[in-house]
Symmetry: C2
Subunit: 378 residues, 2 copies
Amino acid sequence: MSVTAPAISSFLPPQRTLMGPGPSDVPQRILDAMARPTIGHLDPAFTDMMEQTKTLLRYAFQTANKLTFPVSGPGSVGMETCFVNLVEPGDKVIVCGNGVFGGRMLENVKRCGGVPVLVEDAWGRAVDAAKVEAAFASHPDAKILAFVHAETSTGAQSDAAALAAIARKHGALTIMDCVTSLGGTPVLIDDWSIDAAYSGSQKCLSCTPGLSPVTFSERAIEKVRARKTPVQSWFMDLNLVLGYWSGEGKRTYHHTAPINPLYGLHEALVMLAEEGIENAWARHRAMHEELKHGLEGMGLSFLVPAEERLPQLNSVILPEGIDDAACRARLLNEFNLEIGAGLGALAGKIWRIGLMGASASRKNVATCLKAVATVLPA
Amino acid sequence: MSVTAPAISSFLPPQRTLMGPGPSDVPQRILDAMARPTIGHLDPAFTDMMEQTKTLLRYAFQTANKLTFPVSGPGSVGMETCFVNLVEPGDKVIVCGNGVFGGRMLENVKRCGGVPVLVEDAWGRAVDAAKVEAAFASHPDAKILAFVHAETSTGAQSDAAALAAIARKHGALTIMDCVTSLGGTPVLIDDWSIDAAYSGSQKCLSCTPGLSPVTFSERAIEKVRARKTPVQSWFMDLNLVLGYWSGEGKRTYHHTAPINPLYGLHEALVMLAEEGIENAWARHRAMHEELKHGLEGMGLSFLVPAEERLPQLNSVILPEGIDDAACRARLLNEFNLEIGAGLGALAGKIWRIGLMGASASRKNVATCLKAVATVLPA
């Protein structure tokens, strides 16, 4: 015994308004759900809830894919689950890079022993479908196309339907990051023929961070089953996870699921179904229009061209001479308002204002416009 | 749009008494903490809480290790984090197998490209130190010794101090699974010179599942820094995670931490510090004695010899002719009591009765004894 008990008391977080790139505001209904009594991960009541969660996620993803479930980890684990299962050593993967998260996909491909082919677009722009077409022309042996539907680092949205169609034409599978789009703008897995997609719980679903909804097509599962090498991750190996989440026959123990966060996700998805996903998309769009109107009235402009812009993540160009960090600190300290900073080359140059899930509300837009008008010099 | 909104309502879990191998009962104080308002993962208030959590975990692990933090995933991710960072392709690893979780360590070593040397003991027994000594004699080039301190599948506890000393003598690092021991029986990372250890939030810490406390010695970090090959997992790469959890200089974004579950873990650790860890160990021991007295009074016996027995996980041999599943269903349905089944070769032969964290209470012992007496034929 060498370490004595530290004198630390319970943590009482401040009440913020969350308008960064996630987490977004978590409604009281979801917080209350997470505080319900913990039960076992093999309890029949819990496995019933798992089945409901899968059904609700199929609605959110607009898919009939049987293999649709929340990975027990943040979006980065959902991402890695897609790559470690679908990319075998030597597989050529076309990766679209137009922000931080495309870069992370590239890193994943390398660590799986894949051979990445990078298609680059400017940060703040959508992926250029013509460049992807050209990449397939130069690399007809590419087995996978990986792209980010909604780049959280810039607020640009790419044409997922067009990109997936190109991959399909060339016989490649698609992996899509829809972390920031799911629940905020249309994500139509089946209509677009996406083979693997991952999202996060803390964006437009308005739940606590830490869970990553994923979905896989039959073609994707076939590729996993036909692998010649084992999946390098034990935890993420879909062959093992399937036994736990499949709901077919005997449910085999794989890992202990995060019970209470899953109560929260279930509640968030029930709320989405109650609102209707098309209504949720319309709400995100309407709140974006209100915010845009206000910000443009202050003379601010957007990083992303209007037709490529995500309504739920607004990248605003900072006026010259503004002290980024000092302004955001004032927003936090004087208004309890969190907005996002720029990442990488965009650090100090943009703000990212999120309107995701419950944060896409008239009240939040008004709070944000008032606060921003106060801290920015007229 | 092809999938219509399912008619699913909020999930209201039953109130169970959790006496399986985890999750254990989560106190209301911890459930309440998880329902506090979500804040951002880069909010100064949150990063202060992260630092407190690290301090509290150092107390739980009895270590001064700087790199001590909760991995954003279940215990299996904590396990894999240890292996993918410390095992380089070609590294010889002595793995002690005396239950399910030693087997999972072996699988991890293989998937990292390591060369495992398996030291086997019977399920239900502690690891035999003499066999480990012999393994090092045959494999003097072994770089790592991996063992499970408290086998969750059997309830056997091994002599971690003795095993770590053998590894030390042979210049090898140690990886220790203390998922079921942390907070329940002594885990003395520094006194024992353990280099890497992982645990879970849902056992003797009595928090919701989904977080895995880990700790790494300076020697372990040196091995990670000296790697010739990149860590195969992007999410688990300690070189990247360090930038987020280190608290040194600028905190770089790595992934979005699971905010509300971390509120819960913080509260659980505050409660452990309030009780005093030695008092917590004594409570687990005392409740085990009460339970044992009652079970032996019914004529039941234990799988594990007394001197190798974990107080917090009691593997009881089922009398001949008992219908295991039917009895456990009665416990659940008539008494709202969850206990654990046997795994692998022990399925149908033992019950695993947990007394972990808040479940190690006089009330739970009484509930369990009454329920078991009711369902077992006299």
